[in-house]
């Protein structure tokens, strides 16, 4: 069968078997190997991607079900050559070791912060509790997400200050038209 979906902003069309899992479509057909295959049973979360903005476990989603939808993978986190604050947080706080769970963890973290910019430690732990990391013991992952939250808050504050100053300048020259 033919399936068309939007992956990281690009429309892709492929000829697939109806039973093909989304994780294998992304990895084997599109070469997006940042999404990993870890357990088949939705327990480990190393395959988490976004489908229409919602984190899903791509080992239990058929590629056919993603037809007409927007998929975002770890390869789509970096924007215009700029790492997402979540990606920066993971390296700054040593939130990864072997790196295998990392893409799924970061996709869930990004979704969390989009909904709740300043989550509590418990909320972070709950958000990633459908995912397993065998290396880090999770504390540094939690710190990584907190780092991202703090830096996003700081950037937002800076942006607000910048906006305010623009407004003042504008006022100084007679105000925007």
């Amino acid at each position: 069968m033919q399936v068309t979906m939007n992956v990281n902003g690009n429309e892709v069309t492929g000829e697939i078997e109806a039973r093909l899992l989304l994780v294998h479509y992304l990895r084997d057909h599109l070469g997006l190997t940042g999404t990993h295959w870890g357990c088949d049973t939705s327990n480990c979360g190393t395959c988490v991607v976004w489908m229409d903005g919602e984190p899903v476990k791509s080992c239990t989603v058929l590629a056919a079900m993603a037809g007409g939808r927007k998929i975002r993978t770890v390869e789509g986190l970096e924007q215009n050559g700029q790492l997402d604050p979540v990606q920066q947080g993971f390296t700054e706080c040593h939130g990864l070791q072997c790196g295998f769970c990392t893409p799924g963890m970061m996709m869930t973290a990004r979704a969390l912060l989009d909904r709740k910019p300043n989550p509590s430690e418990h909320e972070i732990r709950e958000a990633i509790s459908g995912q397993i990391c065998r290396c880090t013991g999770y504390a540094t992952i939690v710190r990584s997400i907190q780092w991202a939250a703090a830096h996003e808050a700081a950037s937002a504050a800076e942006a607000a200050v910048a906006d305010a100053s623009v407004t003042v300048d504008s006022v100084g020259v007679g105000g925007p038209s």
Binding site: D28, H36, C44, L83, C98, G99, T102, R134, T140
Partner: protein
């Protein structure tokens, strides 16, 4: 000529401000992982690549009557179907294990555990390969299985290994250490003797990435390239040469990015051999990736030690002797990855951190109808079992004597002036200073305050427990005279090349499964030759491009391969000094090494940097007489001894009296791994091990039913801790350098996995004191804790 910038003060730990060397430094490997650009085995895609899937036994013990592959072979996408009989014709049906046993690549006569490899299919895609497995018909004559190790030596037990000539029982090996008579005498003279049976259940390392391989055999030049999930690429290459008869120089093993190993990726699995055979047969590259169930039921398990521990002491708490009997369940084949002279691994360190008079242990290993393995899951080659035994025994003794468990430990510690200390089982502990480590853990925990809080809570009927454990590890296997695996010595090579512009590449024999070698090994070399870690490339995990060595397991990278990296850097620096003396026209004795440059003593204006020297070494100018050009060296580092890290762990748990659910409220870990290279990475290693401890102590077990069916065959059944079961770890450290390691480092990767389970179990048992509980076996699930609260022993499954 340049001078080196201002160097940081002693003890400065933030490497971002420091041009070279040890200290906190962000990882060089992170940028690719953050972008989803890691390159794991399953990411390897080659033109024309085929996919392999393995048919596994559905039963634990059965004779194979027939295998019909006709329908599978007729599948339009199938390229080959191979059975054990076909492999036997090539002499490839059996392979040696790392413990000098043999293991079936594909079963020929019998299947001996559920999940054993029976046949494989090679097809155009991974789904078709799986489809074709369904088309293979196997007729089994089902035999009684041996599931409980306690009955493996019963005269009526079926003989599992009838492939071994003359084998009439399920005995695997006996091993003993220590002085039996002296121990008996010490027990006879003791005021107090405590005996405790305990089981360290079968668990599984379950790395996030399962095992797999891509084999690519080039029929024209006869070269095999194998990408595989291996922690020991060089050892594997040699074994493939021996097993398959391929010339060793025509085998290249690449261990790409590895999604966690934890010892589970040390052995050679039948799947790797099948992939090689498949590529040779089809002339195409062949990929094999196991799924999670295959990983859990067939690859290296860990532990499975049934122990009876005994401890003897005076009434005022001086420990006199420890002894133990162990029944070890090795599964159907003895596949433990352990040095030849140590069939029970390093279990001999069961005397722990204590200065005692006598010790003795006897290990009997048996075959059962379960998957092979035994040494995995960050166990430091069976030290997990040893430390659990002694730390539970010491706690039981503290209970018996009504002493505080910290006080009893401190009273019996080996004293700093006793190092190097030879234990009663012959291990030479290199260095240690235990009491400050214990005190630091107690300080961080607020130990006395915790005990006061516990008393108050007990008054209110709340179940709070405080668990203490203190461990001494033996890591960094090991000295060649004592240690080899299948005749391969456990030394490690390193090669270092400084390029003309002063950048460098270091090639090491160890490889990373997440430990951060690309960072720490650059730092190790940087510290010695004064080149920034950013300018040092670390090459690893490729046998064509790295020197021989046994690989990354048993916390051996820093103690052995790290030693090699330091020694090769010093060798290069020695040559650089000769060149510098020529450049500055002074004798070598007049040169002073200030990290990164040679200075003429007494004349700070005259100096050359390591980069100046590198250019001269490769340039057209004169070199001192007799000196070859170039600036490179290689070494093979044979460690003088193991290294012996130690640590003090304190765990605080709360138990819900209604549901018997255990919550780890706090965990304090103070580790002493000698000289510290990158504290960020050390902390990460410790954290990971602590989570392992939560898993083993509270959740994880590979159990079997009476027919030998594995009950832990998926992550729905084999429970691994998530972020919700783990607390925010509290860590600290002390530093007692190793006297024989080139920089005094000891290794840390497995310390926390070794030390945390007894701390957690001790905490749970402490919480259950009001119920008169002295021991309960792991995993301390709510049902097991509930049983203990009702006065029932741990269920036997």
């Amino acid at each position: 000529m340049t001078t080196v910038g201002e160097r940081p003060a002693q003890g400065f730990e933030n490497n971002d401000m420091k041009p070279v060397g040890h200290g906190r430094m962000l990882r060089k490997e992170d940028p690719r992982f953050l972008r989803g650009k890691g390159h794991y085995c399953d990411d390897v895609q080659l033109p024309g690549m085929l996919h392999l899937a393995i048919l596994r036994s559905p039963v634990a013990h059965a004779r194979i009557l027939s295998i019909d592959t006709t329908a599978a072979a007729a599948h339009p996408k199938v390229k080959a179907v191979v059975t054990g009989a076909a492999l036997a014709e090539q002499g490839l049906a059996w392979m040696p294990t790392l413990s000098n046993d043999v293991q079936a690549v594909l079963a020929t006569d019998k299947v001996r555990f559920q999940g054993q490899e029976v046949a494989f299919v090679v097809a155009e895609d991974r789904y078709a390969a799986r489809d074709a497995l369904e088309l293979i018909q196997v007729e089994y004559d089902i035999l009684d299985p041996v599931v409980d190790a306690r009955h493996a030596l019963d005269p009526s037990a079926p003989v599992i290994r009838d492939d071994l000539e003359g084998k009439t029982n399920n005995h695997c090996f006996d091993w003993q250490t220590g002085d039996e008579a002296a121990t008996e005498a010490a027990f006879t003279a003791a005021d107090v003797v405590v005996v405790q049976d305990m089981v360290y259940p079968r668990v599984h390392p379950a790395p996030m990435e399962t095992c797999g391989a891509v084999a690519d055999y080039d029929r024209i030049d006869g070269k095999l390239t194998l990408w595989s999930t291996t922690q020991a690429p060089h050892a594997h290459r040699t074994l493939y040469a021996i097993v398959a008869g391929l010339p060793e120089h025509k085998i290249r093993v690449i261990s790409p990015d590895i999604g966690g190993g934890f010892g589970g990726k040390v052995p050679i699995y039948p799947g790797y051999v099948c992939a090689i055979v498949a590529s040779i047969v089809t002339g195409k590259p062949v990929k094999w990736m196991e799924d999670r169930s295959e990983n859990l039921i067939s690859t290296g398990f860990a532990r499975d030690y049934i122990m009876r521990g005994q401890i003897a002491a005076t009434k005022d708490g001086k420990i006199l002797a420890i002894r133990t009997d162990v029944l070890a369940d090795h599964g159907a084949f003895n596949g433990a990855a352990t040095p030849v002279k140590y069939p029970a691994g390093f279990f001999g360190v069961f005397t722990g951190s204590y200065d005692i008079q006598a010790a003795f242990c006897k290990v009997t290993a048996v075959y059962t109808n379960k998957a092979p393995g035994g040494v995995a899951y960050a166990c430091s080659i069976r030290i997990t079992e040893a430390v659990y035994l002694v730390e539970r025994l010491v706690n039981c003794l503290a209970d018996e004597l009504q002493m505080d468990p910290t006080e009893l430990r401190i009273k019996n510690f080996i004293q700093p002036e006793q190092f190097p200390y030879t234990t009663r089982t012959g291990w030479v502990y290199d260095s240690g200073n235990y009491e400050p480590t214990m005190r630091e853990a107690m300080r961080i925990a607020g130990y006395d305050e915790l005990r006061r809080e516990q008393a108050e809570r007990r008054e209110r009927g709340e179940l709070m427990g405080i668990g203490v454990a203190f461990f001494t590890e033996a890591v960094g296997a090991g000295p060649r005279k004592d240690m080899d695996i299948l005749g391969l010595g456990m030394a490690d090579g390193a090669e270092l090349r400084v390029h003309p512009t002063g950048k460098a590449v270091v090639r090491i024999s160890a490889q990373t499964q997440g430990q951060g070698h690309e960072t720490t090994f650059a730092q190790l070399v940087a510290e010695e030759i004064g080149i920034s870690p950013a300018d040092i490339e670390v090459v690893h995990g490729d046998t064509d491009n790295t020197p021989f060595g046994l690989g990354t397991f048993g916390s051996r990278s820093t103690p052995v391969s790290g030693g090699a990296a330091v020694m090769v850097a010093r060798k290069v620096r020695d040559k650089a000094r000769i060149i510098a003396s020529g450049m500055l026209e002074v004798s070598m004795a007049d040169l002073e090494w200030v990290k990164g440059s040679f200075h003429v003593k007494g004349d700070p204006t005259k100096s050359v940097t390591i980069q100046d020297v590198a250019m001269r070494a490769h340039g057209a100018g004169d070199l001192p007489e007799g000196l070859e050009g170039g600036l490179e060296a290689q070494v093979c580092y044979n460690p003088a001894n193991l290294t012996y890290p130690h640590g003090a762990y304190i765990c605080v748990v709360d138990i819900d009296p209604g549901t018997a659910k255990v919550t780890v409220r706090r965990f304090i870990a103070v580790d002493d791994c000698g000289t510290r290279i990158n504290p960020m990475i050390i902390e990460g290693q410790v954290h990971g091990g602590l989570a392992d401890g939560v898993g083993m102590a509270l959740m994880e077990m590979i159990a079997f039913d009476e027919d030998g069916n594995c009950l832990g065959a998926s992550l729905m059944d084999y429970l691994i801790p998530t972020a919700l079961e783990c607390p925010d770890w509290e860590t600290g450290f002390t530093v007692t350098p190793s006297p024989h390691h080139p920089i005094g480092a000891k290794g840390v990767g497995e310390s926390a996995t070794v030390g945390s389970p007894p701390a957690i179990v001790n905490a749970v048992v402490d919480a259950l004191k009001p119920f008169g509980v002295r021991h309960a076996d792991m995993p301390l699930t709510p049902s097991r804790v509930w049983h203990a609260m009702q006065g029932h022993p741990t269920p036997s499954f």
